[in-house]
Symmetry: C2
Subunit: 669 residues, 2 copies
């Protein structure tokens, strides 16, 4: 075991802090009550010896990892059952256990039961009739059946209308006959589908009375309730090893004339009557809501991932010493190298801004879903556009930030025991799932170009794009004084200009005779650039608004730190898009140098609080699961200890020496 004493360099860092980490930790957790809940869940889950790993999972084969993970998933499921019985299973608990930090502390490569809880059950709740909910929900909640959600196919993802799986209604038997008519129609990717779930919601193209009706969800039993053997017509398995999410048991599913009763189609929104008559849904807006909900949640997840990576890299950078600044001095903590600060501190700032923005969006979403339930859909397109681009930007920035943190730890960051490879694998996945990032940006851009046209026609736009009205009024941005407010305003001005250019590109191509759709495709890179700036302008404004609001509610000591974080975030964000600033705003080379020096000053100001800031994220050592990032900073002891667990090191001489190496070495003797 590593010594229990804290590394002296880390101790020193904790003494230089100018604020109380506990105050920050409570804010970060979302208030006193949440903080206590978090601690209590940590106690319940992380102190259970059955949920600890003796052997790091990176040493397991894919098959062993699945078995190991299913064991733990069932223990977690049992505890969830207990919490549910006690009425303690709120949304936050599910989030923490299945998607969040606590879940990752137990099953860092993912839980094969997650989709049961976060997709199968909610789909029945959202799309099943009352009768269907009665029939299925209690079984699902009790885990008497385990389900997943099967939509994406081997050959079809983003474009749902392209799905090939079809369900033909047979009025004679009052059954649907479900088929995946080709290899590319195989369902692909659903978590837990491989060997875990015995049911799935299968999304298929519905045909009744020989006519195509659109997509519909069907509950399909996949495996026998007792033997777990795949049922007739079901071809099912695990899709194989992946960059991350290694224990999610993502599966494939082929269906051949699989029959399910009429009542297995989830019929809250659309219905098929026994004779095959189809009753269309009133509106398809509600599914938008779910997607937005998930994307809002993802923004907060990216903040957590980046906070994890920042914590590990920052603590390591306080302990690691390398390369004297002055040749006559000893090697400094690497965090004293300005170049290292520029790698780490913007990630800390982004973690905080993504988190507060995620919270803000979450609140907006809640207001909105109240409005939707009242039948008011006015803000839906705006929120949809915003959630798309923020999902794309935050996931891409977080993934890049995790890699920056990893690389900042040199070779040691490359070792699995640093936990960076897993954090990266989990974070970069967010760039692809729940709407691939480029597709997301294009969806946002479509909205932006549309409202730009409206603004040109003199219409007053909704709040998050109202800056386009302003930019059209004042064609020049004259007052760039470098203040934070002015950076935010400049971001919006720049975004408005990027949207203008995208709009003009499309218009120009239409004038050249292209269809609107082809014009949009040919302008694709202008569109994604516009959506990127829109999202960044929103992040800048949100950072400004939210962090100043928080600053007014906390102690002056913490408020001062948050102001440095805000300035660092905004100046760094501005410099990262300085080409666009220079392009549309009258600033000079000298102004840029001034911003660069300001960034350096922010780094310098943050330096004494860096370790305490990441401490305040209050990430349990088990959540970090990193030899480089533990609270005690006993980096080298922990690295060395990790090698002792390596199965290769259990024997001094591996048998491959005798089998292969020795005959090779002695061959010519």
């Amino acid at each position: 075991m590593p010594s229990q004493e804290v590394n002296p360099d880390l101790l020193k860092e904790r003494h230089t802090a100018t604020f109380d980490p506990h105050e920050f930790a409570v804010f970060w957790a979302g208030g006193e009550e949440r903080y206590k809940e978090k601690k209590s869940l940590e106690k319940m889950f992380l102190e259970d010896p059955a949920l600890k790993d003796d052997l790091p999972i990176s040493y397991l084969s894919h098959k062993e990892l699945y078995e190991h993970s299913l064991r733990k998933a069932c223990i977690i499921g049992e505890k969830i059952r207990k919490l549910r019985a006690e009425g303690e299973d709120g949304v936050d608990t599910y989030n923490a256990l299945l998607g969040g930090s606590l879940g990752a502390a137990i099953l860092k490569e993912g839980n094969p039961l997650t989709l049961h809880y976060v997709m199968f059950v909610p789909t029945i709740m959202g799309q099943g009739t009352m009768d269907q909910q009665v029939e299925w929900l209690s079984k699902a909640w009790d885990c008497e059946i385990i389900g997943t959600y099967a939509q994406t196919e081997l050959g079809h993802g983003t474009f749902l209308r392209g799905l090939e799986t079809r369900a033909d209604y047979d009025a004679r038997t009052q059954e649907f006959v479900i088929n995946t008519p080709s290899l590319s129609a195989y369902k692909w990717w659903p978590g837990g589908l491989g060997h875990t779930a015995n049911h799935a919601v299968v999304v298929a193209q519905l045909y009744t009375k020989g006519e195509f009706r659109g997509l519909a969800p069907f509950i399909v039993q996949l495996r026998h309730s007792d033997t777990h053997e795949p049922l007739p017509g079901i071809d099912i398995g695990d899709i194989g090893t992946k960059l991350g999410m290694k224990s999610v048991n993502n599966g494939y599913l082929g269906l051949k004339n699989v029959r399910v009763p009429l009542n297995n189609m989830l019929m809250k929104n659309q219905q098929v009557l026994p004779d095959g008559t189809y009753v269309a849904p009133k509106n398809s807006v509600l599914t938008y809501g779910t997607m937005m909900f998930v994307r809002c949640a993802l923004i907060r997840d990216t903040a957590q991932s980046l906070a994890k990576a920042s914590t590990i890299a920052t603590r390591y950078s306080a302990v690691r010493r390398q390369s004297p600044i002055d040749p006559n001095q000893p090697e400094p903590q690497i965090m004293d190298h300005t170049t290292q600060q520029l790698k780490l501190f913007p990630q800390i700032a982004k973690s905080i801004v993504f988190k507060t923005t995620g919270d803000g969006i979450w609140n907006m979403y809640n207001v909105l879903s109240g409005e939707i339930e009242q039948g008011n859909l006015d803000r839906l397109p705006e929120m949809h556009a915003l959630s798309c681009c923020l999902k794309a930007i935050c996931s891409a920035d977080a993934a890049a930030g995790v890699e920056t943190c990893r690389l900042s730890c040199g070779g040691h960051g490359y070792m699995d025991c640093s936990n960076f490879p897993t954090i990266y694998g989990m974070t970069t996945a967010v760039c692809t799932y729940e709407g691939e990032n480029t597709v997301m940006l294009l969806q946002t851009a479509r909205y932006l170009v549309k409202v730009y046209g409206q603004a040109l026609n003199g219409e007053k736009l909704v709040p998050t794009v109202a800056y386009i009205n302003d930019a059209l009024k004042e064609r020049q941005f004259v007052n760039f004084d470098g203040s934070l407010e002015s950076i935010v305003k400049a971001f919006q001005f720049v975004a408005a200009n990027k949207i203008r250019i995208a709009y003009e590109q499309i218009e120009q191509r239409r004038r050249q005779g292209h269809s609107t759709e082809m014009a949009a495709n040919l302008s694709g890179t202008f569109l994604t650039a516009a959506a990127d700036l829109h999202g960044r302008a929103f992040l800048a404004e949100s950072a400004y608004t939210e962090l100043l609001a928080v600053s007014r509610q906390v102690s002056p000591a913490l408020a001062d730190v948050l102001k440095v974080v805000l300035e660092l975030y905004l100046v760094d964000a501005c410099l990262n898009r300085i080409g666009d600033f220079l392009r549309f705003i009258d600033i000079t080379d000298k102004d840029v140098t001034t911003l660069e020096i300001r960034l350096q000053n922010c780094l310098k100001q943050l330096r004494p609080n860096a370790v305490t800031l990441v401490d305040s994220f209050d990430l349990h050592d088990r959540v970090l699961d990193s030899v480089l990032g533990a609270y005690d900073g006993n980096v080298y002891e922990r690295i060395f200890e990790s090698t002792k667990k390596n199965p290769l090191n259990k024997e001094p001489v591996n048998e491959a020496f005798h089998k292969y190496l020795k005959p090779f070495m002695k061959a010519h003797l």
Copy 2:
């Protein structure tokens, strides 16, 4: 087995090509003769059934993977022995087998014997006396002993003077006593050190007659020649699982009073006499040479990695269909989306430019090492500075490019069977090893700032930095006309200005009272930015010079394609640093839009040749090892086939169902 027929979309692509892929392939291989050698090596190695994998290695545990890899490494070693006996073991053969594409086709996560061939043997050749070479080299060449190179320590990497391992000369017994006096002194990372090598060159701080003498290399036997048991005083093992290089058997090594004879210190450059008298080396320039050699080789490796990733993503993008451009049309090949082209084609262009630049640098290096042997060290600092920043830029861009390619393939890129995760793991490693990238940029910057000062004093600079003289003469860049030549010149002008700013930042901080070293540290981010631009200016010029030179030697059809590649590369590079261009050069918003439209035109022009260009990289299907990127484009069949190999799918019901899931599901019944 997938069908042998080529996917019709790929066939179509191959028909639209305007040039002969064989002509390009020969150029890419380095001429007819090299091309034939390549094909012959491929035949010899890739058709050997003993070197094929039945089970994809991603399904093996770490221990199984080591055993599997050592088996193959010994077969490769045996073949190398045969080639050597036939006099066919040139540098290119070693490169191909141990670092290059062919080696990766056999051992994609690395070869535990590589360091024996590329570090142990060359170190003895480079640093051993004639007598020592006689003693050790034939044993090493014959693999009677297997060695590695142990320099980096757990707590010490880049800063060699910080190494803790020490060798104390004991004149009484004429032995060195070698110790790793603390945990942080443990040797860490050497490939093959874990369980494979029985010898190592250990780099240690030398003490004779109680005085410190500097670093020296020692040959140390680690394991018993017959039993392979670690020798007394040797604590040795495998450091554990990693992001990539999973089968290299990187090891750790602790030494406790290990005694080696006087003659085990490699004494070509410095000597210890029997009585302990120390004879210092004449100059330390030669080791610079080796580092430069390795970095030049790495630039070419990054080109290969990016070519691999580009090939996979481009072929997949021709086969995959998604998201109609026009809602009334079928889903197009995703390569028809402009946003997809912007992801792929710049990577193809970079692969080509990194390769030609790598070749150019390689030739410069060869000229230079001739000069060094003649005692002429004039161009050494210039070449050192150049190789440092190019290593950093090419590795960082290649790693980012690989990820762009992976993400462009959506979810399927995330599966290990795409091979992207391995390619990324291997490519991003180059950012850290052989000189961490930030350290590399700082070394370049130190040189740049120095020569900037010389230029200010009116000195005429050496060729690769002569643009600083020009920039100092003409303070304004007036003739930006968008021509390729003008983009190259503008890159140099921008680089000169970034160097100026770095210089001024240091000077200003010195005037504020900081030491030169502290001033440099405080200006660190200005320094790395300057080095980055210097490298990119060199790449731009090299792309321009080399590709136009090649164009003059090839058929007009191929020349036309290369010119599009060149324009795409330069315009994209310029837009990626557009902030710097706008900052220092008088260009307008309209100019930028013009460049952006030009980039789109380049994409459009490259579109019909994209698949054939990557075909021309002539990467064997085994080298690509990707279900998404095979020559026949049978993507879905190959993905599906890969799931059949998954050990989890060998049984319809995994035993974990009975052990964990069933009891959990039935618990409440």
